[in-house]
Symmetry: D2
């Protein structure tokens, strides 16, 4: 980041909302706008949206260059996302952009690309209650949450979830019908940070839930680049010659016993 403002792009496939009355009634402007509306109430975030049917699928190179954290919601049209868009997003993540993948985005091309695995899981639509437990309470993504929170009606996602072991596991979900799920998973990839967050389904008001929205805004702050001030400088420094070391001729003592 060249400043303290985090530039967020909320990307949505934005198809269900156009054809399904239930979804439209919940998200009249689209899921992306529901999320963006919340984020715009937060300090120090600059928020825009992008959708699949926009030119360059909403993700032109200059959009990505101007994005610190990308939020991804997709479901029915994963396969319509062009491979060159996936390439661009991957490259930008590896250069330091954060990525937050929501719910059915687990099966998006970009998430599978970043994970290297199938990202498959079990699922069932039965309007089940979900309890989301915090299992890493000192994690910034859990800030301000109670020990658990509930969603009254959700689509169930169950283990086994075929992902690499998360670098940090923040949430585990409990479902009424008998399943569990690793619901909040952090991954470091290249210079970027990735957070997968399970809740959401287009036919429930998940993205109007205060705890869900809090997790998303917490995750935006977590996912923004926090390392070397300038990614460009970092890689620049990697290409400079490194002085090989000409060691002095010291007379070292033998190594010491570890039992000091």
């Amino acid at each position: 980041m060249s400043s303290d403002i985090i530039r967020v792009t909320v990307w949505n496939e934005f198809r269900h909302e156009k054809v399904n009355a239930t979804v439209r009634s919940l998200y009249p402007e689209g899921i992306h706008e529901a999320i963006a509306t919340h984020l715009r109430t937060q300090p120090a975030l600059a928020v825009r949206t992008a959708t699949l049917d926009e030119p360059e699928q909403g993700l032109a190179q200059e959009v990505l260059e101007g994005t610190d954290v990308l939020i991804w919601w997709g479901h029915a049209a994963h396969n319509e996302v062009q491979d060159e868009v996936v390439d661009r997003v991957q490259q930008r993540i590896l250069n330091g952009m954060g990525l937050i993948v929501l719910h059915s985005g687990h099966y998006s091309k970009i998430f599978r690309r970043m994970m290297g695995t199938t990202c498959l899981l079990r699922w069932r639509e039965a309007a089940e209650r979900e309890r989301i437990w915090v299992v890493h309470p000192s994690h910034p993504i859990a800030a301000g949450l109670p020990p658990y929170f509930e969603l009254e009606h959700t689509e169930m996602y169950g283990e086994h979830f075929d992902i690499p072991a998360p670098d940090e596991l923040v949430f585990i979900s409990w479902f009424e019908g008998g399943e569990v799920f690793r619901s909040g998973c952090c991954f470091y990839r290249g210079l970027g940070r990735i957070f997968y967050f399970r809740p959401g389904h287009e036919i429930y008001p998940i993205y109007h839930d205060a705890n869900v929205l809090r997790v998303i805004s917490n995750a935006v702050r977590w996912a923004a680049f926090q390392g070397n001030a300038s990614v460009k400088d970092y890689y620049g420094a990697m290409t400079e010659p490194i002085e090989t070391i000409a060691p002095k001729d010291y007379q070292a003592e033998p190594i010491q016993h570890p039992g000091r």
Copy 2:
């Protein structure tokens, strides 16, 4: 190990069985004997038992020296275990002995010593159903298991479980009343391996369940030392002088660009 036989010691506090008729009816010879009886049916294991009220609390130095994997069941008498016994067990683990901690052993002195945390958790006795999901299906401790298995009546343990993030997470439990729990957790400490396995409660026939027993025997094989053939040789080698390197005077090319 100096051979292919794994020497297992099953340690049990062995108190509930003496005073509670329900427990005694389930485990007439003690929980340790139920587990040992199963392990004795497995190939290449040499199994003995030890209990709290034996001399040196069953864990004299020579017992530990002759143990490759120690299984630990304790509950009501954690505080009676002497600190010098805990010291000995810790030292032996760091020198390569495996430790398998069962159920209420989460609050034993030795487990808290190895973890460094409180090891607290939520709990409730309500004879609830537990579903144990495999979340690391290629792990040897999950060998031969279905995607999940059930225990009809168990004591509930719920998150947050205050442990370090496990090095490998093998199982997550679901409970009827609304909780989840990281039920199968692997830790590497020193040259030793530690496996915490949640199921068990003295008033249910948990240690007669075929899946539970399979996990325990899988865990014994996983926890046995698999590194350098001789722990002693390894630490011996650490104390030998190491030759410091007198580098030749080469003319190295500048470092290459990573974009090869």
Copy 3:
């Protein structure tokens, strides 16, 4: 595995050996044969080789089906490996095949596919001494090794190595010219296990070194599938209906204080 025999395929791009006299003098039958020759001396391994210029690039579906662990050496011809071959190998890894990637294979299509990152690193050809330190001495891949071993002349690989944090880090290398490198990295992906091992360069006799060969044969045993006996059964079980739970109407006590 349907038996205790591990079926190993050693894949080599096999180009340098055909055009470079130095390489050919070190590896007259190719690097793959040097490695296979060693593995054939080990118990319970069935070893074959495959190379890039064979039909289907040596990796037809039936070859992969008959392979428990695939060893990969590539360098100059990474881009010639067809994407459909990469797809097949990835799928087979996710279904439980082990993959061992050697040296310059860090930049192969298959390794980058599995990692999701650039897999870039620093490098320098200056015939430097390398010291390989064991940092996870209880790991089976380190079995039988001293605390460190040396290679007199190697190509240098230096950090930053752009990979996901390894699930287990076994070796770190020291180089004469001033660099360090995470040299032995374990990853779990899908039902498969991946081991990256740094040493090697076609113009040095790396694959004749006893410690290097020991690491490779240790890694073969580690990478072979160790989970549920039948991968097919496992995924089969995932597709069966799961009974949702109809909980009994118990009167649970309130949750207990964690300070039991």
Copy 4:
């Protein structure tokens, strides 16, 4: 934290400085003051110091209550630190205080308590050059650093370092004489965060080095509690009754095939 100010206590055993002229010339007010002086130049930190020979060894309960991040430097007097002080510090870490352990603090009682392992390592005093490589460039503790930095004269610490695998590995050191070391290691324990940072030795001006000081101030920000706003509220919430779930009597569809 009840505000945005991070309250830092720099603790030093403060013995070498009193008896050794070299150390005193480098750190006339003590190592703690050198570090505190730097931290006082940083925004939003409230810095105090504490030393072993003060009442209650400088770490009375009220001092710990008023500390968000504790920095620890000790060497010759590890054994003089009272067990009750170690108990207090451990409890405070588990309740959310950050701990930064420097150099020879690896063998302090508090670090060994938190790790559960011996924390032994190899070492040699030979005024060697150390190169510290960043291996996690997006980590906030590496912010503002080049790909590596050097210290001209240091005491060598070498692997194997007997610690649990760090939750995040930030730095690896290279030493002139042939060793490597995991130099920057992050651990999450309870609600607290722990950072071990290797550089330092009392007879070299390590704590006047700009990069070392930058790491320490970065680490202070990383180690301050970032989870739920109030630790007390969090544990309070853990003790409240949790409503067990009375599931509705829905007719769920069979689980779906993961191959959606």
